[in-house]
């Protein structure tokens, strides 16, 4: 008992500080190329937190890609400046990019609320399939209404330029922007999990009948998790859009929805943020690297990897340290005899 306590204390305090320090150092010490690997990884990190939260409330979402799309398109539309308008978006809001991204997240969150309210009462496989369909639907809509969404070619998303910081010629500003959002997301999800809400999530996931009979309204907690996850997926999508400078209908589809799942599974879902983040940090750069080396490498390797993990490392990569510790300490558990 004592060992795990200290270990988790170390984890909660030292690791984030170390991680943050490392992240900042890399920005200045490393090349821009490293940043091109890390920025998408951070963005995926934001999304995987949400997926894990949904998973930890007992549901399986295949729709995070849809919310990323909504966020990406919304932000692009909201922030397009007159100079860059190439297509027929007649409503030009010209909002500053940061505001645009935030609003995009809110919009995505609203969609998540609607979808969640409609489907999370039933949950389970129904929810799963509907989120998948929703993913497809968003893609279909994006392609199908070119007047609004630029059709197959998509629309341009401007470079962010808050406070006059130049985002165009160096990766560093974007890196720090994503890092900030990532940290914020991490704090939100961590706080959610630690509060009694996280406890309710776990109860609902562990035994929904019992949880319901102790007064927990199942759909409420599922919807909370799903909506917050949707919001952050939207923000992440917006970030991605501005990072790539263009938003196309093929950006986030079914493969991306599964990638999120794979990242979480490989990283480990027994922790709300460390596991998924590790998954994203490992797989995103790895995926980018594989795709640059040979086509099709990424899906192949990811697919095999997740199967292996499911077979051998049920709790993901992040359970390895604990397993090692258990091996050395060799604590035994005997069924307890309770006094009456």
């Amino acid at each position: 008992m004592n060992t795990t306590w200290t270990y988790s204390r170390i984890k909660t305090i030292a690791l984030p500080i170390l991680g943050l320090a490392g992240a900042i150092i890399i920005a200045y010490a490393g090349s821009d190329r490293i940043l091109t690997y890390l920025i998408p990884a951070y963005i995926w990190g934001i999304v995987v937190f949400g997926w894990t939260a949904i998973f930890r409330v007992g549901q399986f979402s295949l729709g995070q890609g849809a919310f990323m799309m909504i966020g990406a398109y919304a932000s692009a539309i909201l922030t397009t400046s007159v100079a860059e308008t190439t297509q027929i978006t007649s409503a030009i809001f010209q909002l500053p990019t940061l505001v645009g991204m935030l609003l995009a997240g809110v919009i995505a969150g609203i969609f998540a609320l609607i979808v969640g309210a409609a489907t999370l009462r039933l949950g389970g496989i129904f929810f799963c399939i509907v989120t998948l369909a929703f993913n497809e639907l968003i893609r279909v809509v994006a392609v199908g209404i070119p007047e609004w969404f630029g059709g197959v070619n998509g629309i341009l998303a401007p470079f962010p330029a808050p406070f006059g910081i130049d985002f165009q010629h160096s990766k560093k500003p974007f890196y720090f922007l994503t890092l900030i959002v990532l940290v914020f997301a991490a704090i939100v999800f961590w706080r959610l999990d630690r509060s009694r809400l996280g406890r309710h999530f776990r109860a609902v996931a562990a035994n929904k009948n019992l949880a319901e009979h102790t007064g927990l309204r199942l759909s409420k907690y599922r919807i909370i998790a799903f909506t917050v996850a949707g919001f952050f997926a939207g923000v992440a999508g917006a970030l991605f859009g501005h990072y790539l400078h263009v938003v196309t209908p093929t950006l986030f589809g079914l493969p991306e929805a599964i990638i999120v799942l794979i990242m979480c599974t490989v990283g480990g879902t027994s922790t709300p943020i460390v596991g998924p983040l590790v998954g994203a940090l490992i797989l995103s750069p790895a995926g980018d690297y594989l795709t640059s080396k040979f086509q099709g490498g990424k899906p192949l390797v990811f697919g095999i990897l997740v199967v292996l993990v499911a077979f051998f490392l049920v709790n993901g990569v992040t359970s390895l340290p604990n397993s090692f510790i258990n091996l050395f300490r060799r604590r035994s558990r005997r069924p307890a005899e309770a006094r009456t």
């Binding site: 496989i125 809509v141 794979i262 099709g296 899906p299 192949l300 990811f302 697919g303």
Partner: protein, 269 residues
């Protein structure tokens, strides 16, 4: 038809093979290789493809699903999703990501009610109908079909009554996967072939299951049928907008009748 294959497996075995769509895609590629490139006889190619894909289905069940069967639906899903990814990657590595064209087997068009329909498509529809009838016969008229329906209702009890579940599952996976394979093989000459085509049939198949009703075995198979035909019809008559309309219908159904056509009304699953 592809949807029915998935629904079939889901109904009897209680697992959802997310790689089902990829089986369709692999089949299309097999047909491409054997027919378009190697020039073998089309029907021979179809038969080979069906057998191969069906066997792959059995392999999937044995190798991937059995070990995680007791860990629940989630574990099986993760595994089949991983497989789906891996298959797509594998095919991309082998064949490259670009579109491949498979030439029409039956050329020429015929006029039906004022609309030109290619023979190819007619053959596809006919064979699909034959396959569906075959499935129906299998489920409802054979002894094995009875066993399948029993297992769909309650696997443990069926086992107690002497149904050899492992053999049954093998057959079910074979048939289900073979249907996907047949779909891929049939549609390869009709649509283009590239590694990404697996996603659409899967999504539609899943939606067909939802439409037919999640809890109902018969419903999802029928749902698959109806859906398949509906989407073909819609695609033909409405053109590019058909996807939107299709999805709109689905969303409508989901919102107002979540249990689908035959599903049970109990909200607690």
């Amino acid at each position: 038809m592809v949807a029915s294959g998935l629904a079939f497996v889901w109904g009897v075995m209680g697992i959802l093979n997310w790689a089902h769509g990829q089986l369709y895609m692999v089949a299309a590629f097999l047909v491409y290789s054997m027919y378009a490139r190697a020039g073998l006889n089309y029907f021979l190619v179809l038969v080979i493809t069906i057998v191969v894909i069906g066997s792959v289905g059995i392999a999937i069940e044995r190798i991937l699903i059995r070990p995680v069967a007791n860990k629940g639906f989630l574990a099986a899903s993760v595994v089949t999703m991983g497989l789906s990814f891996a298959l797509q990657g594998l095919i991309t590595v082998i064949y490259g990501p670009s579109l491949k064209a498979v030439p029409e087997v039956f050329s020429g068009r015929v006029s039906i009610g004022g609309v030109f329909v290619s023979w190819q498509r007619i053959v596809v529809v006919c064979l699909a109908i034959v396959a569906m009838i075959g499935l129906y016969v299998l489920i409802n008229r054979t002894k094995m079909g009875l066993a399948m329906r029993a297992s769909a209702q309650d696997g443990t009890v069926a086992g107690l009554f002497g149904v050899k579940t492992s053999r049954l599952f093998a057959v079910v996976m074979f048939v289900g996967s073979a249907l996907a394979g047949l779909g891929g093989g049939l549609l390869a000459p009709v649509y283009s072939v590239d590694p990404t085509i697996g996603g659409r049939p899967l999504t539609l198949a899943l939606l067909a299951i939802v439409l037919g009703g999640l809890g109902s075995f018969k419903g999802s198979v029928i749902g698959g049928l109806l859906f398949g035909f509906a989407s073909i019809m819609l695609a033909y008559y409405i053109g590019t907008w058909y996807e939107l309309i299709l999805f709109a219908i689905i969303i409508g159904v989901i919102l107002f009748r979540p249990q689908g056509m035959f599903g049970k009304a109990e909200a607690r699953v």
